[in-house]
């Protein structure tokens, strides 16, 4: 009795909040309704006796995914009203596709014949003497070891991908390289050039840092000469 009441309460809240995720105007509210939907789905899993799935749903989806969504929604200033602009125009097309798909799936469901020995067809029976967390643990690292390792590789690829696509080595930071400082000599650091009076360094080509691939061009010696010391960029 209590279970049935709980089931209907949780289901009703789940459906209601799922509808609110799609219809609510404020995207932050949508994400919060999504979190509520996850909590109710977790409760339904608990009622069904799948406590492991319930906990995973709360930890992974509420703890990580939904919070990430919330961050994305709040950080990126996405104009959701602009995204919905075409809604009226495309609604008939979407509705048609939806109706067709619904009837297809309904025909599948109506054609479902329960076989007489359903329990025999279920290969993995519900273990009565072990909790399902332990039951999953028993097969995950033994029977499904290969798949477990493959998931690890997939996560590794995701990590490599995130780093490759976003990480930029910082070239702007100026780090002190003591060995290099010690090894510097005067003649690689200082350059003595003659400069016409009144001539800017731009004309003389003594602009620093030196543009790649172009040697500084010295102007022809002038009548009045002034020696200048130009500190070279290393």
């Amino acid at each position: 009795m209590i279970v049935a009441v709980a089931f209907y309460v949780f289901s009703a809240i789940l459906l209601g909040s799922a509808a609110m995720v799609v219809t609510s105007r404020n995207p932050v509210h949508s994400v919060l309704f999504l979190i509520l939907a996850f909590f109710n789905a977790a409760a339904l899993f608990l009622i069904a006796g799948a406590e492991f799935l319930a906990m995973i749903l709360v930890i992974v989806y509420v703890g990580a995914v939904a919070v990430l969504f919330l961050f994305v929604v709040m950080m990126l200033d996405v104009d959701f009203t602009a995204l919905r602009e075409g809604f009226q125009r495309y609604a008939p097309v979407g509705a048609t596709v939806g109706v067709v798909l619904f009837f297809e799936l309904a025909s599948v469901l109506l054609g479902w014949r329960m076989s007489g020995d359903v329990s025999a067809a279920v290969l993995t029976r519900l273990p009565s003497h072990v909790q399902n967390t332990r039951a999953i643990g028993q097969v995950l690292y033994t029977d499904y070891f290969l798949l477990f390792q493959l998931s690890g590789l997939i996560l590794l690829v995701a990590m490599i991908g995130a780093i490759v696509l976003t990480h930029r080595g910082r070239h702007t930071s100026k780090r002190q390289n003591i060995t290099r400082q010690q090894e510097r000599r005067v003649d690689e650091t200082l350059q003595v050039v003659t400069v016409r009076s009144g001539a800017g360094i731009r004309e003389l080509g003594l602009y620093r840092p030196i543009p790649v691939g172009r040697e500084p061009v010295l102007a022809a010696p002038a009548t009045t000469e002034v020696s200048t010391i130009v500190a070279q960029d290393q």
Partner: protein, 473 residues
């Protein structure tokens, strides 16, 4: 548990991690070293593949037989060719990083797992590993907006296809009671007792895999992604990642669903005809050679699907030979396209090839060989693949498929020959930059294979025959 059976995958995965570690720890740029190591690892893995016995491992999740060995060798060959081919292109495009060969190796691990899958879950894991690496590769030139767009487009659409595949897998599981291929086969032994749910499940599984194959009507992403991705990645996408979903499609259709041919054959026939038609007609209007190759690959997948639609052992043999010739021709054509570079900038218009024969006769001749072979002109390699699949279709009494196949081949000749005409008979423009030795090696090796395949095809046909027999076993 029989670990040794997965030795090639384990070696490849662990070596990829080692190469990654090496690249991360060395302070100097080690792209070349990592690339060389990647090629070496692929060769070692190929030797291990040849050596693996026929059995199942990991509680029936994983199988090794002549079919998986043939596919794995083909996948490794495609990967090696593309790793070599990408070395020069990436360094000239300033996108050379050591993660590139590592991602290719991890993608190859996924593909090898796929071809050894004996369970729907193994299939899905392998497919995701393969695809995820390719998404990253497609967006590898991250400062190029087209590459980023290609990566994003491929990722979003492919995620949708993965969803379809998962839905199909869940339906197949629900209606047959197992994920294991042999148990599904037992459960659906009687074609009369197949429920509508299983048929829908099969249709969704085909849809998910057809997306990866870029078969019509799941092809929309192909031209844009091929054009936007860096050419080295496009080359990779059109070789090994086309083989793996195809062999997995063969295994699923003839393994678990081998007794319910009537449920999936019409779908495959439809996809095949649509792909052949679109591949040949839509390519005519293309001016970009990468887009042309995209439509060409859609067409080729259509021809190869003819062999699957035939539903016989000879059909499977035809598909396997077709995939072999397709991988070699594709890698060869892309090695020529990668060489298209003028004053340091990569060019990809067909018009840029104008008069190539006068500037660089070797490159023009090689590209002409690949184009003739793709068009299916005898005695080049491409002809044999087409011959075998059409023959299988005729033997199975599928005249419509064979006739449409031959007619669309004739249409596709037009655009392949147009490339040759542009190269040999149009006014010449400025020559291309000097191409690197690694590109020449790939182009010459694949060109030689395409050219002299007809002299001694027996070992390849024999291997394909053995692989097909293993599938029907």
């Amino acid at each position: 548990m029989n670990w040794a059976l997965a030795a090639p995958e384990l070696v490849l995965a662990v070596s990829a991690l080692g190469i990654l570690l090496n690249g991360v720890l060395r302070t100097r740029d080690s792209t070349i070293l990592c690339t060389v190591l990647a090629v070496a690892v692929c060769v070692i893995t190929a030797v291990l593949v040849i050596d693996t016995p026929t059995a199942t491992a990991f509680g029936g999740l994983f199988v090794s037989d002549a079919f998986s060995r043939y596919s794995k060798l083909l996948i490794l060959a495609g990967t090696v060719l593309c790793v070599v081919l990408s070395l020069d292109y990436n360094s000239r495009q300033r996108i050379s990083r050591f993660e590139f060969p590592v991602l290719m190796l991890l993608s190859a691990v996924g593909m090898m797992v796929m071809s050894s899958a004996n369970n729907l879950m193994t299939l899905y894991m392998g497919l995701e590993l393969q695809s995820l690496a390719v998404y990253v590769l497609a967006a590898f030139a991250r400062d190029d907006i087209r590459s980023a767009e290609a990566g994003l487009k491929y990722f979003v659409l492919s995620a949708l296809a993965s969803g379809l595949l998962l839905y199909g897998i869940s339906l197949a599981y629900g209606f047959s009671g197992s994920m294991d291929f042999s148990r599904i086969a037992q459960a659906v032994m009687d074609p009369a007792g197949v429920s509508a749910g299983l048929t829908v499940g099969i249709a969704f599984i085909i849809a998910g895999l057809a997306f990866k194959l870029s078969a019509v009507p799941f092809h929309m992403w192909t031209p844009d992604v091929y054009e936007g991705a860096p050419t080295s990645v496009t080359a990779f996408m059109s070789t090994a990642p086309k083989v793996a979903p195809f062999v997995v499609l063969l295994r699923v259709m003839f393994g678990p669903f081998g007794h319910v041919t009537a449920q999936w054959q019409p779908i495959i026939v439809l996809i095949s005809i649509a792909s052949m038609l679109l591949g040949s007609f839509a390519a005519i209007a293309q001016t970009n050679i990468k887009r042309l190759m995209a439509y060409s690959s859609i067409g080729h997948m259509g021809y190869a699907l003819v062999g699957l639609a035939a539903g016989t052992q000879t059909g499977v043999r035809g598909v396997l030979v077709y995939l072999l010739t397709y991988v070699v021709m594709s890698a060869g054509s892309f090695s020529c396209i990668v060489a298209m570079r003028r004053r340091g900038l990569a060019v990809d218009k067909i018009a840029d090839l104008s008069g190539l024969a006068r500037n660089d006769l070797t490159l023009a001749t090689l590209l002409a060989i690949f184009m003739f072979s793709m068009a299916g002109v005898p005695p080049l390699a491409g002809f044999f693949g087409k011959l075998l699949v059409f023959q299988a279709a005729v033997d199975a009494g599928m005249w419509t498929l064979a006739i449409i196949g031959v007619l669309t081949s004739v249409v596709s000749c037009f655009y392949y020959l147009r490339v040759i005409k542009v190269m040999f008979f149009d006014a010449s423009v400025a020559p291309f930059d000097v191409r690197s030795r690694s590109l020449s090696v790939v182009a010459l090796a694949t060109g030689a294979f395409t050219l002299i395949f007809f002299v001694y095809p027996a070992p390849f046909l024999g291997a394909a025959n053995q692989a097909a027999r293993a599938l029907f076993g």
